[in-house]
Amino acid sequence: MTPPQNHAPKAHRAEPRIGFYVCHCGSNIADTVDCAEIARYAASLPGVILARDYKYMCSDPGQELIQQDIREYQLDRIVVASCSPLLHEHTFRAALARAGLNPFYLQMVNIREHVSWVHKNREAATAKARDLARAAIQRVRHHQALQPIRVPIRAEALVLGGGIAGIHAALLLAEAGKRVILVERQPSIGGHMAQLDKTFPTLDCAACILTPKMSAVRAHPNITLWTYSEVIKVEGYVGNFTVTVRRKPRYINEALCVGCKQCVDACVFKDGKFPDEFNAGLSHRKPIYLPFPQATPQVVVIDPDRCLNLKTGKCKKTCVEACDRNAIVFDQQPEVHEVKVGTIIVATGYDLFDPTRLPQYGYGRYPNVFTTLEAERLVNSSGPTAGKVRLRDGRVPRSVGIILCVGSRDHRTHPWCSRTCCMHSMKLALLIREHAGAEVTIFHMDIRSAGKGYEEFYDRCLREGIQFIRGRVAEVTDWAMTAKEEGHLVVRVEDTLAGFVRRIPLDMIVLAVGMEPQRDARELRRILNISCSNEGWFLERHPKLGPVITFTDGIFLAGCCQGPKDIPDTVAQAGAAAAEALALMDRGYIEQEPNTAYIDPDHCCGCKSCLPLCPYSAIQLDETQGRAFINEALCKGCGACVAACPSGSIQQHLFEDEQVFAEIDGVLSYA
């Protein structure tokens, strides 16, 4: 369904009747710009029928004012000098539409963000506002009536990332009757949450609340679950994304395998030899393995870099014989699928800070220095030590220290606070006390327990005897100064409340490593063509008003890929992202700015100079006529071809050459 062509014929236009409005924005603009003077000046310009200044143009009475004026004075052009068009252009366009005037007869003048807020000198600011107002008035004379372009939205969605954020979003979309493709890079969904033991502040077990949702994803008819897969290309635009997904071979037929693990037992490697990623390397697994007991899908996977048969081809393949359902397919090839979806929800999560970057904490040098994730696996009953907290040499630690802000709130690594490590560390402290009966000391700068029930959890830890020392740990070392310190890890820290440097011998140290963006966040950002803050988190359109939407229509964010957050906030964002996606998909179309380019067939000579310029290949050549034409549905309105057409035969709605030249002239002609 191609929307109505916007070829407004250049009929001879009657002299436009312009209404000019300048907004005080309370005092935001009026403080530095003399609004009355601007209105008085505008009234003197040709075509301006009336010019008003008003305290709040974007308010209902403000919009009502415009609508009355349009009806009363038969205005057919409106210029509003107020804030950024990115903020209220759609508000005023809606007001014009309600008054029966084509909404695209509006032109806004940014005299707040670009003038009053950034200049102090009242006279210079007013002069600048006057020039910009004149430019807008001269521009709006050339505006034409346009219709927004309706782009159909496919009712399918892609959810990228199978952590709790992706799972929750996918389930919501599926429940709403939309087809969902959930792509997860690891062999199983679950993300970091699956590795946790209990969750704060309620201490309910992560697996108990996550596993039902994972199996719901597996069972849901509307969800296509692609694990061990990655998105390698995204093309198209909102409502019509073409996503290319590469599925890595598991060397197992997913349909046949039921996860009985006979093959794992039969593997030539009698016991695990390779570090188990799920247990953060604390235990070992075989080349053929099930990621973790509640893995979804409940299918084993063969690690191609470790399996003898895949690496050298010389193996007795005892696994194949052990599998009565012969689900093992050694010649399985990677598959590349291309799917068409309407919306994309990015929920790719986070990575943990690598503590070897801070050598003074001794991670990697002293065996009994762990990260919170490793400690999480130790206290976890399905972990490598079945929940028993043990040092690397198997001994039970009698004293444990947890060091907060490792890598976070540090200008040399990450300046941001990772939000969850305080609570995560306090939860671990309780669990370690419970599992190993050890004395636990938490070294902190401040305890940040801002969530619901979080501060009460902090009280509970204090009551249960967890030690808190306020000071940033300088060093973890095995340099013993007294006999009492022999054989222990000594933490040197200045206890800022006590007022002196202390040396605290401990058996085990846990580093509360902070969150950082995924290692490949930059490549993924380029594939999705969304922008990224300079730290590497994906950039939301507006930190307060648009936290889950991006600058690219149809692509939404959920969870830690947008910034550090805990599980409650992540799930809330996943719900929000799903709702935003559903809003698009349910409506079935999206109205896009009609700023597409168009070619006048009489003017085009068929020189093809424009064809290579369009990244969306929206410009095609009509062979019979020898003329180029633009497919309005594909054109995204960048205007590169308009600037490049050597005979000036391509124009762009809302940004016609005449309009821009009028604006240039308006800005520069002396007052």
Partner: protein, 330 residues
């Protein structure tokens, strides 16, 4: 008494005489033309003098074709005189239409030009550094010479112009159609360029051979490399300005195995021909890094001469601006 034949005047200002030739190129039709018009002024081909022109009442001349750019005070006077005497004034040929090749002089100040010609030029022998003076008296005679303007101008930058016939020189068909239209009393809309308002590729025989996705890695000079007569010149890496130049000449140069140099000027929708050509060509350059881009741009040795060959006076900047504050009017 039979209707008096419409009067025709032809005059040449800063021109090479090629446009006079173009009129003669009408060949036999000149006879038929002369029978239907009363040629009152054509200094290049007849002995009619300025006085003959001054005696005519205003608007007496039906149409006058002025070719050549305006460079001297005399040419300015003659332009005003012909404007006064003519009903239709036509800027005939690229020089009058856009400033033409003489317009390229706007890259230099008046002093630089005079010094070059009368002092430092390689073949100039002028030890006393004598320069032409606007007036010179010997005995009781005073001789006067027209003065050289600081800048070259197209005709419509001096007098109001009714129509433009583009081309360097305009083709006979163009001239014939224009005169026929005027003589047949159905004049086209005032101020229009009497040539199709679409780019040259429309008439170029090589259009089909231009690839759909052409991006440029280097440009070559037409005299330094063999030119394949069939294939699109841009595709071969020659800087052909066809896409940015008006049609009307039936692609004379590409048919003569030479790239179009843009003499018909831009279409009506373009304000600055050079900027538009540059915008299109450079957007389609292949390289992405500064060094590689510069390497390609180095294969265009004279950007002004290439992009503004016929149109420098009518470009938005009109010529070289000497930003050193001292110089007065250049």
């Amino acid at each position: 008494m039979p209707m008096p034949k419409p009067k025709l005047a032809i005059y040449w200002c800063a021109s090479c005489g090629g446009c006079e030739e173009a009129v003669v190129d009408l060949a036999e039709e000149i006879v038929e033309l002369l029978q239907s018009v009363d040629l009152v002024f054509w200094p290049c081909a007849t002995d009619l003098k300025r006085a003959d022109l001054e005696h005519l009442p205003d608007q007496a001349i039906f149409v006058s074709l002025i070719n050549g750019a305006i460079r001297t005070t005399e040419q300015e006077e003659m332009a005003h005189l012909l404007r006064q005497k003519s009903r239709f004034l036509i800027a005939y040929g690229a020089c009058a239409h856009l400033g033409g090749i003489p317009g390229l002089a706007n890259q230099f100040s008046r002093e630089e030009i005079l010094r070059y010609y009368f002092e430092t030029g390689p073949s100039t022998v002028n030890p006393e550094k004598a320069q032409p003076q606007p007036s010179y008296t010997c005995g009781h005679h005073t001789l006067t010479l027209p003065d050289l303007h600081y800048k070259v101008r197209a005709l419509d930058q001096v007098v109001s112009v009714d129509y433009y016939i583009p081309g360097c020189p305009p083709t006979p068909t163009l001239t014939r159609n224009a005169l026929k239209a005027l003589l047949a009393e159905n004049p086209p809309p005032p101020g229009s360029v009497l040539a199709p308002d679409v780019a040259l590729c429309d008439q170029c025989p090589r259009k089909a051979t231009k690839p759909l996705q052409l991006s440029f890695t280097r440009f070559q000079r037409p005299h330094l490399a063999p030119i394949d007569p069939q294939q699109c010149l841009l595709a071969q890496g020659f800087l052909c300005l066809g896409p940015a130049t008006r049609a009307g000449c039936e692609a004379l140069c590409p048919r003569g195995n030479m790239p179009c140099s843009g003499c018909f000027g831009p279409t009506s929708r373009v304000r600055d021909p050079g900027a538009k050509i540059l915008s299109s060509l450079c957007a389609n350059l292949a390289p992405k890094t500064a060094e590689e881009i510069d390497a390609v741009l180095d294969t265009i040795p004279d950007p002004i001469g290439t992009f503004y060959r016929y149109s420098l006076p009518r470009s938005l900047l009109r010529g070289k601006v000497n930003t050193s504050p001292t110089n007065h009017a250049s």
